[in-house]
Each structure stands twice: as C-alpha cells, then as structure tokens.
Amino acid sequence: MAAKAGKAARSDRASGQLELVSVEAPSARPVGRKAPVRRAVTREPEPALPLPEPPEPAPEPEARKPKRRSTAEEMATRQREISISEFFTKNRHLLGFDNPSKALLTTIKEAVDNSLDACEEAGILPEITIEVRDLGFEGSGELTKGEGRFVVAVEDNGPGIVKAQAPKIFGKLLYGSKFHRLKQSRGQQGIGISAAAMYGQLTTGQPIRVVSRTGKGKPAHSFDIQIDTRKNSPVVTRDETLEEWAPEHGTRVDLEIVANWQAGQKFVNRYVEHTALANPHCTVHYVRPKQERLSFPRATSELPKEALEIRPHPHGVELGALMTMAGDSKSRDVRGFLQSSFSRVSSQVSGEIVKNAGMKERVRPREIAADRDLAEKLHKGIQATRIMAPPTNCLSPIGDALMRQGLVSFLSVIETDGPEGEDGQLDLDQAVKRKGKGKGKAKAPEPTPDPAAEAEEGVEKIKGHEYFIATVTRPPRVYRGNPFQVEVGLAHGGSWPADKPVELFRFANRVPLLFQRSACGITEAVVKTDWRNYLLSQPKGSLPVGPMALLVHIASVWVPFTSESKEAVAHYPEIIREIQLAAQECGRKLAAHIRKRQHADYQAQRRSIFELYIEEVALAIGRIVERSPDPIRREFMKVAEKVTEADLESQDAKLEEAAEKTSKRPRRSEEDE
C-alpha cells in the first residue's frame, strides 16, 4: 500500500499541471492593502506606493473639458474600512487558495504546520493524522470528478488549545502566537488556519469544527466556529464538552471545503511524503478516499533541538519596523530601548549607536516612533556601528544523521517499482514545456552487484535498490541580521531515472516548497553549482541530470520568501552561497562514491570478460586439438582464480599510465558544452 502512495504521487502529473499554471498566485505583492499581511517580504525595502491614478487624464488637444462625475463628499460616503477578512475574500490567491486543487493542499498544509509547530514547542513527539473525505463519494459511492465537497481533518497529539483561545485562533485572521517573536517555526503570522476556515465557510457555508483537549483529566471541548467577515471576529455556533474523546491531549480540526481531489491529490501526496522526509521525528497517518491508509512511521524518537526565540538583530531592522518597535517599547530612553529590544546590544554598543546617530541619550522611544527624521538618524547610527553577529544557537536544523534517516524512510515508503519515469518535478513552468512529450521510462542500469565488495559507507539498500546517501549541514550564517542555516542531502542511484534532471526537494523550516521552483533561490544555487565536477551531466543553466534526489533545507528565524504565498526563497547572495557550499560538499562525497562504484563495476566486468574469453578460447582450442572443450575450460578457470587481483590491478595501472600519456586532455572548462 505504501507503493500505491508513491506511485500516486507521481502519476498523472502532467495532466493536472496545466490548469494550475493559469491560476498560479501572482508573485507580485498587492499594493495599497490596509492590513499589512506580514510575510518575509516586508523586510525588504517597501517599494514606493504607486501614485494614485490622476483623476483626469491629461487633456488631449481637441478633447472637450470632461464633465465632473463625482465630488469628494460623494466619494467620502463610499469610503470605509476594509476588514482583513473581506480583503482575503477577494484576494484568496495571495494565501494559496487560488483554485480548488491548490486550496486542498493549502488547507491541509496550514493545519499540519500548526500541529507540528505546537508539538515541537510543547516538546511532544508528533503523531498526526491527515484525513481527506470525499462527500460525493460517501453519498453516491462514486469518487468526485473534478470539483466537489470534501472534508479535511487533521488531528494531532499536541498540547491542545485553551478553551477561551479557540474562537479567536480559528475565527479571526491575524491572531496567533508566532508573529511577535523571532523564532524558527513554520507558521508566522497568525493567519493560516483561520484563512483555511474562511475558505471553507466561503465555499461551503460550513463552520470549522474544532476538538481540543489540553491534558489528561481535562475535558475535551468541541466548537463550530464561523467568521464574521465584516468584523473579522469569531462567531461560535456550537460549544460542547465531549464526554468521550480518545486522545489524552491534542487538537483536531475538520474543515468542509470545495476542493478538487482528482487534480489536487498529487500535491497533497507530495506534501505528506516530503513533510515526513523533513520531519523524521514525526509519525504521519494519511487517510484518503477509497484508498488504504498510509503511514509514515517516525524514523527517530528524538525531538529536534528546541528552536530558541531571539530578539531581532539591529542590522536587520528596517526603518518602519524600528519605529513600530520604538512605539511598543516600555523603556525610558533610546539606549534602554535598543538594549531591551535587540540582540547583541550591550550598554557599550547602545552608547556607540547613539553617538554615531548624533542624538541625545535622553531621547524617548515614543519620540522616535513619532518622528520619522529622528528614526532615520537612529537607523543610520545603527548601520554605522559594528555589532556582533546574532546568536545562531537559536536554529534547529534537521541534522546530518536525521536527514539520512529521513531519506531512508522516505525512500522505503515511496519506493517499490521506482519512481514513475514521467517528469518528477512538480514544476509548473516545466509542466507546460514538457506537455505532450512521450513518457520515456528510462531507468538507471542495475549496478552489477559485487559479492566480494563490502558495504560502502553511505550506501543503503532499500527495497532491493542501492542508494548512496550523503548529507551536509552547514554551520549557521547570517543574512541581514537574521541567522540561517543550510542543509543539503542527496540520494543517488536506486531506481531513479538516469537520464532525467535530478529531483529537487526544497524545504524552508521543514516545510516542503512545492511551487514556483524556477523562481526559487534554492534552484538558482543548485543550477549554479557545477555538478560536472561531481560526475553528473548538466546542461548549461539547468539542474544536473542523473539518478538522484537532492534535498535542500533552509532553516531560519525568518525565511525570506519572494512572495506571500511562501513558495520560493528570495535570492539573497549569502543564502545562495551557503547552499552552493553545502551542495559542493555533498557533491564531493557523491563523486567519491561514483568513482568507487565505477571501479567496482569495472572489476566485475573485467572478471566476467575473462570468463567469456575463456569460453571462446576453450572452444577454439578444443576444435584445433580435437578434444572436448570442457576440461580445457576448467583448466583455464583454475588458473584464473590463481591470477591475483593484484596482478591485474598493476596491469591496469600500467595501461592507465600509458593511456594518460597519449591523451592528455585539458579539463573541461566552464564554457564548453
């Protein structure tokens, strides 16, 4: 049954991709929104708001003077506050609810990300059940074709949610525990699950149903929560205490949504597989319509190192944020504000900053919040001061060993007959290009097993296939005052197709990134790496080609995404460089393996070539001397066993030397192809 999931994840990919392309979320940020949806991009300099369209176009030479259509007063009657919920209703694509198939994934993803965050924060080994129910199927016995009504349920064994908090968490956008802190977590802005709830409400009219219990002996509460989109506030339509609820603690959400399982399941499958891969401490059960339950058991019972919360580093703060922080500060003066709100600001450093800013020490934070010029002075002062890099122990990478275990269990769940040949990448741009191409199902040649060779380090045998696995975790680094850390893992060989681009799995804070592959900084870094140095082929400006899956994870207190849809990592040179360094390190391990493998293959080949030659020679000599070839063959084989490997190896060495002398070719340079 595990096999089915693996296959399903890869089958009929091409057919579904096209339709998604046309509705893919625009990566451009909306301008002029009222409530700031705070995503990573807000850290980049805010582009100047475009000037409002001039009310009257410049008069054309012969145009008559246009008639006034409306007055300021009339317009004033129409101007009113827009609630975030209303905004979302119109701009659901910004949060990943572009269309029913993507909405299915996004709903699941928001709930699962929350569950994982909550478990990790509470120090609980997560066990999560994801369930997709096809209401059409349950009614008629026929799977829904295309769009239809589905229920998505996600249950965790996390800390649960206090009764009083539940309504706001699920019924109010921009409500959460993670926005006001700098800490590596999946969720960030307190919008995810309530957005999913709202999507359900909008498309089916059904409220989100929540069950949660915070501990043994405590009651389990169940709610139906609706959102008053006008006010962005929760309306609890049902509130019960459950007598019976099996889990000791945890949370379950049920969302009824309009979705497209047919087209969207491949994304969900992939998301589930990859979540299990990047979270080897987590057990995931996956229940789907008309399919057997699939389980990804945890590969380790060690919780990831706790991610610590840090204060922002002064060098990463922008002017607007600086003013907001100053406004929130309870400190009496600017130095106190700097010391208490930022990391790495000692009293000496705060003194220097104030001096470099040329401001008085007694300035109050409130004044800074109110005075743009003053704030700008301070901002410049900060930039002019040398400040120690932020602490990096706040990060929680997957780690070399667990990445390996994750890859192994990932391969054992998804692997049986090997991945489907057709286009392994969930890349929407690629899908368009590849559409219509034949389904070549080329497979890597089976390596000849060499019984004499002992198991090579890094080689794992999974379901009858041999994979070489290498992992690298880089030391933490800093971009724009934000600590981040890059990890790369690769699995080479097995039954991955040898003539296709490698599978690139991108992760940010352990969350799989499934869309916008080509817009992603991770992809850029991998493409810029010269994999030919590591014995893979690589067309210019493309991913390397070979039987390989490449996993890239970036962990950060603040992952810079290119857009609100959190689908691609921004192209910061510091990040790209780190990814390249990690990829190179992995690549070197891979090259050593490939070389070893080639050598072993060669030896096995050589041995069998001798045997084949012996056959020929025995037959020929047998005919010449008019005797049976069998005893002749046996005599030859006897000698063959005696002729030591060492003899042949020294002959090889000599041959190689000779070959080298005759053909001293220069190393392939960057330019040639």
């Binding site: 001798f610 020929a620 005599e635 000698v639 002729v643």
Partner: protein, 367 residues
Amino acid sequence: MARRDPVAKRTVAKIEKLAESVLRSVKGGGNPFVEIPVRSLANVRFNEKKRVVELGGQRQKRYFFNVSMAKKFMQTFLVSDACKELVESGKTTSIRDLYYITKHSIGDTKQNTFEEQDESDPIIEDLEVALDTLREELHLFASRKGTMVGPITIRDSGDTIDLRRMGSGGWGVPSIVEENVIQFVRHEAKYVLLVEKDAVWSRFNEDKFWKRQNAIIIHGGGQPPRGVRRLVQRLHRELSLPVYVLVDNDPWGFYIYSVVKQGSINLAFESMRMAVPDARFIGLSSFDKMTYKLPSNVAIRMDDGDVARARQMLAYPWFQAKQWQAEIQEMVRSGVKYELEALSRRGISFITEEYLPTKLREKDWIA
C-alpha cells in the same frame, strides 16, 4: 582430401602445436601465451648485403591473463581454428571472409569477437609470423587488386592466357601467384614497368606502350598487394627482366618504391619472397619538374603529414644513398609534390611517348 598435401599437413601441424603449447602451460598453472615476432620498425633491420628489410629477433609474448592482451589472445585462436578448417577442407578464402567467419558476439554481451576487419587483419599477420607460414599456406588471400598486360603468355590454374590480348581491362593478378598456380609459358618482354596507379596504367595500355616497348606493364592500385609483388619478383628472377617503378612524386610514392625494392616493415618476414632489390626508380623524380618543365600550378602543396613522413624517410637505412637523400631533401625544400597525372599538362600521351622513353634512353633512374 587436402590433408594429403604435404604443405597443408605441415601447416595444420603448426597450428596444433601452438594450441598444445597453450594447453601445456595452463595445465602447469601458468599464464598461457603465444610468442609473436615483433612487427614494428624497432624490430626491422636493413640487411645491407641482401639489400632487403628483415625482421629482427625481438619476440613478444601475448598472454591470456593480461587485461590488454586477453582479447587478442582469444582472437588469435579463433583465427587459428578457422584457418585449420580451411586448410583441412582445401578451401581458400579472402581475409575479409575470414573476418566474417570468426566474428560473433561474445556470450550474451553486446561485444563481438571482432568489431572490424581492421582487428582481424593484423591477427592474421601475427599468426603468419608466429607459425612461420605464408598467408597462402593458411589458405587466405587479401582482396585482389592489380592488373597486368604485356608480350607474355602465362598459365593460370591450368588456363593458358595471352596477355597481348587483354583488351582495355587487362588481366587481374590473383593473390596467390606461386609456381603451382601461375606458370610463364613464353614471352618477348624486355622489362617490367610497375606503375602506381590504375589510371596511369590505363594510359599506357591504351597507348599500346607495351607493344612499342616490349614491356610488361602492371599496377597494384597504390601499395601493391602481395600477389603483385610476388609476381614482379618472379618475373625479375625467373625471366631476368629489369623492373622499373613509376610512382607519384610524394613520400607515399617513394615508400611504395622502397617496399617493392626491399620489403615493408609490416611484412618484413616475407621480404625474401617479394623484394626486388634491383628494382629501379624511374619517376617521378623531385627534379623532373625542372627537366620536364612542369608548371608550378600542377604542383600540390605538401601538408604537415607529408613533410613529417618525408623527414622520417630521410632516416630509413635504405634511403641513405646520396641520390635518395637528394630526392627527399629536394621534395622537403620545395614543399610541393606532383602526381603522375601532372605530366598530362604537356600532352595526354606525353608520359608514354616522351617522358618514359626519354628517361629510359638516358638511363635517368635510381637503382
């Protein structure tokens, strides 16, 4: 059956001996090998006295249990086996045919015992030297090329053939021209003229040069094959006819002459049977361009390969004579080469009516 033929019997015995020696060494636990005289410039000597190129004493062992030799070892026995069968059945075939006879895929691999004829031809030559047999004794012949006409009657496999009546095509020289196949019946020839090319030979034939001059004219289509060389040697020895060689004025032409004269590096082991140390080089000389006023626009620029080859030839022991050094040096100096056809610039039959008669009359050749 051909078994009764003593030559065939001897050949078969040699092949069997080779196989037995391999069996013996394998039985003794040794790495079996075939010993083959080295056929390269390093193992070739110019015998000043006999004026032929001879094979030296260097021998090379071809082992089976050796990464680089195993395949050739195997091939040697595939060829041996096939030759033994040919000899025993009394059939003769071409070396191309032998390539097809011995070619097959190895086991269930995509590899073949021989990939190309280029692989099997040298194995045949190896076997000839290793067994000290002639190619004909292995019942093999090379592709036949070479044509002859002239005032001579011969017998070929029992058929009497008058080479004065061969029309425009001439008589095709077979690969095997030993006495048991070809006999000379009667002739009124005064000399043999060996020309390099088919096209030039046709000019001589059409102009009935052989009739006017009482000459046997023969060509070998470039480097003459063994049959042509052996036949020329027999005409020279048995009928005491002087041999003149007419080749292009380029390093390749000179080399052809030297092969006719004293044997090739590759077939040095057969020099005694084929070389004509008295063969005379009649043209095209590097100095003919002056003597016969060849315009410079019929010259061909030598390329780097030509120059290198010419320089190499300067060092060959058999080109040490002053005249030869002068010929080669002049070629290198001028940097140009001429084809025989360049003489047609002076008239289509200039070569047969003027050039060659003049040269012969003036004894303008190199011996």
